[in-house]
């Protein structure tokens, strides 16, 4: 029974990691495309950018809703504490996502497309910013009392370290957005995104290096964990693999390959996620509340696992089918 009490929260930690990864990867390129659209000067290009997301942004955003629902059910204490602590970044993200979403629907029918283009781009940027600050401050840690309730203040989430994470995340989104557009566009537009992908790859890399340096310096708990076996091997392996993937990505961009940059970027995201997961585990609020303390009753975890667990492959199946139906290059929607 003890084993089960540990195993169930662990399973849910992994499932939540999977949902969050799917969200960051999939809505990551949506948001990246949105941010890139801010730099696009003509209407036809922006139309292609938005058309490339038209059929999928909604399903991609839904992974966030799925992740939040699962977090609520599996770790109710963490759900309440983290969201209360991150009140402002969460609502910044929500308003960003609202602007992004309505831009898709309203632009279609509008004669003043300029305004909705801007809502699409700015909304994507604001949403990414909110997510970056939220992620940054969760990594930094949230001040809680013995019962795990938030005790900090309104502006705890804002400092230079969470700003660094936010900027890096935005670079990462621009990178994955660019490589997605390399996949979905052709000609001049594709060339533009070979260039933006390259710049974003370098800035993301710099950001990731800085975060990797800053984390052990500022957080003692992370330091002790990082520099003791067995994690120390992992933390040697992850930067080496990271370097290798960045190298492969830059090479594939130089060779103007269409598909591989997207694949390498996904693997870079995955690697960062595994690294992040290993730093955080077994905490759900780093260094304060473990997954075992925050977990719902074992019965609730089984109850959810029975329904949601079965659905994971099904959800993946019809989402992949959706991508297969709409595979190939985007055709312009302007006459």
């Amino acid at each position: 029974m003890d084993a089960l009490l540990r195993f169930l929260p662990q399973v849910w930690f992994i499932i939540l990691g999977l949902f969050l990864f799917l969200y960051v990867m999939l809505d990551g390129f949506d948001l990246g495309v949105g941010i890139l659209s801010l730099t696009s000067s003509d209407e036809e290009r922006r139309s292609i950018l938005m058309t490339s997301l038209g059929n999928i942004w909604d399903a991609n955003e839904t992974w966030l809703v799925v992740m939040a629902g699962a977090l609520f059910g599996a770790f109710p204490l963490a759900y309440g504490t983290i969201l209360t602590a991150l009140y402002m970044p969460i609502f910044i993200m929500i308003f960003g996502l609202i602007f992004r979403a309505v831009a898709f629907e309203f632009r279609e029918h509008s004669t003043h497309k300029f305004f909705w283009n801007y809502a699409f781009g700015a909304g994507s940027f604001i949403a990414a910013l909110g997510q970056g600050f939220a992620l940054g401050s969760v990594i930094e840690g949230i001040s809680v009392d013995a019962a795990g309730h938030f005790t900090g203040s309104t502006w705890d989430w804002l400092d230079w370290r969470s700003t660094l994470v936010a900027i890096t995340l935005i670079q990462g989104y621009v990178l994955i957005g660019s490589t997605y557009l390399i996949l979905k566009t052709e000609g001049e537009l594709q060339q533009t995104h070979f260039r933006t992908a390259k710049i974003a790859a370098i800035t993301t890399f710099i950001g990731a290096v800085l975060i990797t340096i800053v984390t052990p310096i500022f957080y003692e708990a992370a330091r002790t964990r990082l520099f003791s076996a067995p994690l120390v091997y992992v933390f040697v392996a992850i930067p080496i693999l990271g370097l290798l993937l960045i190298g492969l990505l830059l090479t594939s961009l130089d060779r103007q390959e269409e598909r591989t940059p997207f694949v390498w970027t996904i693997l870079i995201f995955l690697l960062s996620f595994i690294g992040l997961g290993l730093i955080v585990f077994p905490y759900v609020i780093p260094n304060q509340i473990t997954i075992y303390q925050a977990a719902a009753s074992p019965s609730a975890l089984v109850f959810m696992l029975t329904f949601v667990g079965v659905l994971i492959p099904i959800m993946l199946f019809y989402n992949i089918y959706n991508y297969i139906v709409f595979r190939g290059k985007v055709v312009t929607s302007i006459d």
Binding site: D58, T62, G80, T81, E108
Partner: protein, 480 residues
């Protein structure tokens, strides 16, 4: 207490505001998804181009509302964590799980097939496309189911008990099948359908009145009417059953719905209040029109009550809902609209049987058409009123009888909540106005009856039905 420094009041206002606005969009899309299943099914069966054009035209309005529904719905889920953390922690085992089911079973299904339903014409075969449309409708209505499971459980918590401030579940299926669940799900399912039917019917009537595509829109009006024959009377019946279960399980809410201050004992008749001006300070109605002996007939179809009906004074003030007038009038508005819509349906069916809805005659039925246009927004008003009764009437409890709303709220600085609340008020008002503007634009433009039809293999073929039509040569994406 100053409202602007009261975090609990502000958090409540924020939840109420976001829920009230958000509801406007999914109520339409959930019901309309069923209509889209009907017209696309008719198209596949009969291969008559009109049905295909119905599917294409109404799905434009569907998409507009769906997108805004998704956008405005996000904060609903997140607010449980941001503004109601103690509540989330106490009920996460059941309530959180149900929200997780809703997202992964229902939202994802809807979102995953939406792309194919809206943009997949010509890319997949008609049967696969129809499957996508059915899945979108199934997903939408499944989310109605899970939301109402969660909300009904707040009304009638079952399947466990509170232990040290946390709800410990002993039987999950008992919690899902809580006393309110079945009737509440049915009531809301019918409400979304009825609202959408009257929106579609109202828009169709507007076109007929404006003499645009009369034959086309007479068709949709008749599909709506044929469905409403079943839906409107059934909704009145399910509504009655819902009121009965309120009487049984939530006597404080029933007393507020009736603005009833004094208790009525069993074995005697009691008056039913038709209209009143509740006076909460003095615990009485300032002015009132009553129907003598009416309450027994309404609750039990008999003159004498078999169980006592308690008045609000039977509870101390802190254990019963405030805003009695709001609850009282919202209940009457909702029921009134329910009967009015059923009346419209009966009158319309009569006209249909008399042959007055034939393409030649329908245009001259000006008052008939105007009534349908007038009825278009009523469903929304009824749904909003019903939810006000349901959730304001549940107060002072968040989890009825177990967790007080005052204890459920996060300890946040009031200024934070005031800021987010202000943003929501501004943004959602803009969203509502903008949606109405673009919806009226879509309606003004009207259906495109010249789209090429998808053939059996999914590829578009030219529409050969009206000989004079000019095939649309633009790329597929531009014709959405």
């Amino acid at each position: 207490m100053d409202i602007f420094s009261n975090t609990v009041a502000l958090s409540r206002m924020q939840f109420a505001l976001t829920a009230t606005f958000h509801m406007l969009w999914p109520v339409l899309t959930t019901g309309m998804s069923i209509y889209l299943v009907i017209v696309e099914g008719l198209w596949i069966k009969t291969r008559r181009p009109e049905y295909y054009y119905h599917a294409r035209f109404w799905s434009k309005l569907f998409l507009l509302n769906f997108g805004i529904g998704v956008a405005s719905g996000l904060p609903m889920e997140f607010q449980f964590g941001t503004n109601w953390a103690p509540f989330s922690e106490a009920v996460g085992d059941f309530f959180g799980s149900i929200l997780g089911f809703e997202a992964s079973m229902a939202f994802m299904l809807e979102a995953g097939f939406l792309g194919i339903m809206l943009f997949g014409w010509g890319r997949v075969s008609p049967l696969i496309h129809y499957l996508a449309t059915v899945m979108v409708a199934f997903g939408a209505n499944l989310s109605t189911f899970w939301i109402l499971v969660a909300n009904s459980w707040l009304q009638t918590p079952a399947g466990g008990e509170m232990v040290n401030g946390k709800f410990i579940v002993s039987d999950y299926f008992q919690a899902i099948l809580n006393p309110f669940m079945v009737k509440s799900v049915a009531h809301m399912f019918l409400a979304t359908l009825e609202t959408s039917l009257f929106v579609i019917g109202g828009i169709s009537a507007w076109y007929i009145l404006k003499q645009r595509h009369q034959a086309f829109f007479t068709q949709s009006l008749k599909i709506v009417l044929a469905t409403a024959i079943a839906v409107t009377p059934l909704q009145i019946y399910v509504g009655h059953l819902s009121a009965e279960q309120v009487a049984q399980y939530q006597p404080t809410k029933l007393a507020a719905m009736e603005s009833k201050w004094e208790s009525s004992p069993a074995g005697q008749p009691a008056d039913w209040s038709l209209l009143a001006i509740p006076d909460e300070a003095n615990e009485r109605n300032k002015w009132e029109i009553t129907i003598p002996n009416g309450l027994g007939y309404i609750l039990e179809f008999r003159k004498n009550l078999t169980v006592p009906v308690l008045g609000l004074k039977a509870w101390v003030k802190t254990d019963r809902p405030k805003m009695v007038g709001l609850i009282y009038y919202c209940f009457r508005i909702m029921s009134g609209i329910g009967f009015f819509l059923a009346g419209v349906m009966l009158w319309s069916v009569l006209q249909w049987l008399l042959g007055n809805l034939s393409p030649e005659k329908i245009e001259s039925q000006k008052w008939f058409l105007r009534t349908w246009i007038l009825a278009a927004p009523l469903g929304y008003i009824a749904v909003e009123s019903g939810w006000i009764v349901r959730c304001v009437g549940r107060q002072p409890w968040t989890l009825y009888g177990q967790i007080r709303t005052a204890d459920a709220a996060s300890h946040l600085p009031a200024s934070n909540v005031l800021t987010s609340l202000t943003f929501f008020a501004v943004v959602y008002s803009v969203l509502l106005v903008t949606t109405l503007y673009f919806a009226s634009k879509i309606i003004g433009k009207g259906p495109n009856l010249e789209l090429p039809l998808p053939g059996l293999d999914g590829q578009f073929v030219l529409n050969t039905a009206p000989a004079e039509s000019i095939p649309d040569q633009r790329p597929v994406e531009a014709q959405q």
